[in-house]
């Protein structure tokens, strides 16, 4: 939850950037028994964002499936263990990247979100420069 409030200033600092944010809320800890309330959803108020509730952690499972197809492609030495939950993480994707059957390899990913905002910000800026350089 605190990750969302940490990301909003990052987006505030990039008012004109062509950035899209997909926030997927999922139950991880015991108190996550329902979708995020309006006050939680309001933590990320940027209109360039879309928010999702993933009650069964389908995206996390799909990411684990993608990674385990070829762990080294995603920077892992070995497959993620069965039941691994991907959460409190941000993945940054450069312009032009398409999500096919498997999740594309992000240009950057890290977490916990609230402690990695500077690095996420740098990654977004770097990806944005690629965007500007594109013909």
């Amino acid at each position: 939850m605190r990750g969302a409030s940490a990301l909003q200033p990052l987006l505030d600092a990039l008012p004109d950037a062509n950035v899209r944010t997909f926030v997927v809320w999922e139950p991880v800890i015991w108190s996550d028994i329902a979708p995020p309330t309006s006050s939680v959803l309001a933590l990320l108020r940027d209109p360039r964002a879309a928010q999702y509730w993933d009650a069964k952690r389908s995206l996390s499972r799909d990411i684990v499936r993608s990674v385990n197809q070829d762990p080294r492609r995603y920077g892992f030495d070995e497959p993620l263990h069965e039941g691994f939950v991907v959460w409190d993480v941000v993945a940054v994707f450069e312009p032009g990247v398409v999500w096919g059957q498997d999740l594309p390899v992000p240009a950057f990913y890290d977490g916990p979100v609230m402690y990695r905002v500077d690095r996420i910000s740098q990654a977004v800026a770097t990806a944005g420069r690629l965007q500007e350089a594109a013909p």
């Binding site: 990301l7 062509n18 944010t21 997909f22 329902a34 979708p35 959803l41 389908s58 940054v92």
Partner: protein, 74 residues
């Protein structure tokens, strides 16, 4: 009333308060509105069947830098 009963009474009272508070909290959580901020699409439910919709939304903005964020709501 025995001395044992009067010793247990505060424990039952505290347990009752905890149970009622928990029930109220769960009720509030289940019935609270889920409104997204202005300008955003409505909160979408995601599952194995609707994952392609997220992929489509992601791929609809290939000209943009995209952030995929996974968080827990509490």
């Amino acid at each position: 009333m025995s001395a044992r009963d009067s010793r247990l009474r505060p424990i039952f009272a505290v347990a009752g308060i905890v149970l009622v508070s928990g029930a109220l909290w769960i009720g509030w959580l289940m019935t609270s509105p889920r409104r997204v901020p202005a300008g955003q699409p409505a909160l979408a439910r995601l599952d194995a069947e609707s994952l392609p919709a997220l992929r489509d939304a992601f791929n609809a903005h290939t000209d943009a830098v995209r952030l995929l964020v996974l968080l827990s709501p509490t």
